[in-house]
């Protein structure tokens, strides 16, 4: 008889779609933007790169706007989660969640129970939210109102548009993606076709406070009966 396993819904469809569109647009923007800025391409190819850079910018802008407008509950739940920092969130930084020790197999690290996202993910999430806002504002200013600002602000807008996303892209390439692959259950949950379930034991290990909260709510629903009025977690 096949073994059954308990799964918990971590990534709802709007978040999955938004994450995918963000991934697609961000990497297109990075390759095309840095490709021209740092001279990886030249001549008419540079013009093509800028053209695709603008298209990817539209993808990022309207996917983000769509997420805020149409998936408002997902968006507000995400923002609430990212900006909720309790004592354990701050303590996570003392050993970076134990990842260096775990990856380098240097013994069992001290664990600080986290909510749905750990401190590192919250930090990246906040930085990415800010980065998306910054590139949208600076990018469209350069596209629709080029040279409209005083000279020093034109330079600042361009430099911020280049260097802030460069930092974020490096962080994603060197930290976010490797750790996402390291925590492969979460990776699969985000990218699977269909609802973004992760194994319950994975959630209890990595997001114990959140898993406990969800289980308690589900238990309350089960014992009270479905009255359709309990708020669903985004």
């Amino acid at each position: 008889m096949a073994e059954t396993r308990r799964w918990i819904l971590k990534h709802r469809l709007p978040s999955q779609i938004m994450h995918f569109l963000l991934l697609l647009s961000w990497f297109t923007l990075a390759v095309t933007g840095f490709g021209v800025k740092f001279g990886w391409v030249s001549g008419p190819t540079a013009v093509s790169f800028i053209k695709w850079h603008v298209y990817a910018g539209a993808l990022l802008t309207f996917a983000s706007l769509g997420y805020v407008l149409f998936a408002w509950r997902s968006f507000t739940a995400l923002v609430r989660e990212l900006f909720t920092w309790d004592r354990d969130t701050w303590l996570w930084w003392t050993n970076l969640g134990g990842y260096p020790q775990k990856i380098l197999r240097l013994g069992k690290p001290k664990e600080y129970p986290q909510t749905k996202y750990n401190a590192g993910q919250k930090f990246l999430g906040i930085v990415v939210l800010l980065a998306i806002l910054v590139v949208i504002v600076t990018g469209w200013q350069m596209y629709f109102f080029p040279g409209a600002l005083p000279h020093v602000w034109n330079k600042i807008f361009f430099d911020v548009h280049v260097w802030f996303p460069l930092f974020v892209t490096l962080f994603v390439l060197l930290v976010h993606i490797p750790l996402a692959l390291y925590n492969f259950d979460d990776f699969k949950g985000m990218f699977r076709f269909g609802a973004g379930y992760v194994p319950l034991e994975f959630a209890e290990e990595h997001s114990p406070k959140w898993a406990k909260q969800v289980l308690a709510r589900e238990e309350a629903l089960r014992t009270r009966g479905t009255d359709g009025k309990v708020a669903r977690e985004a």
Binding site: P44, A58, A63, M142, H151, F158, A195, V214
Partner: protein, 256 residues
Amino acid sequence: MLIDTSLCIGCKACQVACKEWNDLPMEEHIGFSGDSYDNTLRLTATTWRHMKFIEQFDENHNGRWLFLSDSCKHCTDAACMDVCPTGAIVRTEFGSVYVQEDVCIGCGTCERACPFGVIHVDAKKRVAQKCTLCYDRLQHGMQPACAQVCPTDAIQFGDVDELRKHARDRVAQLQARGEDKARVYGEEDIAGGLNSFYILLDEPKVYGLPEKVSVPNREGELPVLGVVGAVAAGLVGLAALSDARSDAPTIKEEGE
């Protein structure tokens, strides 16, 4: 502007006039170039007109010199203008491509995009620099300095359509005289047409010029942006709608 290389004698009066009128400094660290009589080697932020010498001699010293007075071609499809993030590069009322130094932030994107290696960022001034087609002279009814000074009228300034007609007639004349490879360089297949174009006596690659230059058209981007945006927002919207109607349980049990 038409540069008829069949009339050019390589005197470099154009190169000197450009430097003089625009108050451009000499190139440092070139010395003896070792490349025929070339003393500038390439277009730079401080060399806006570069005289190229192409020697075609056999071992018996029979052959010829080809000369090319190289400069900004003021392309119809100007790649530098297409990529400039601040709108510093504009097209003037004379059809030339001009860098507004007070707007330019020296990002260097134009330098990467130019298919001819014309435009460069000045390391000291931190702005992009290239031939202006003597915009200041044109505004006062004068010719560009290079055209004014050319002793053989190899550089001719005037209405582009009239110059193109004249160029085609001249090429026919040259071909009738046995110059089989004579051609107009800078018709529409080169960056949509060059406003500063050439009569060459050999293939473009001999002069170090690209055979064809096709710059992607950036007109009509706005409707595409609208479609992309609508699709992106629509996808997220549909996902939100689907999620709202979904009865997927928060906790489920399922086989491995």
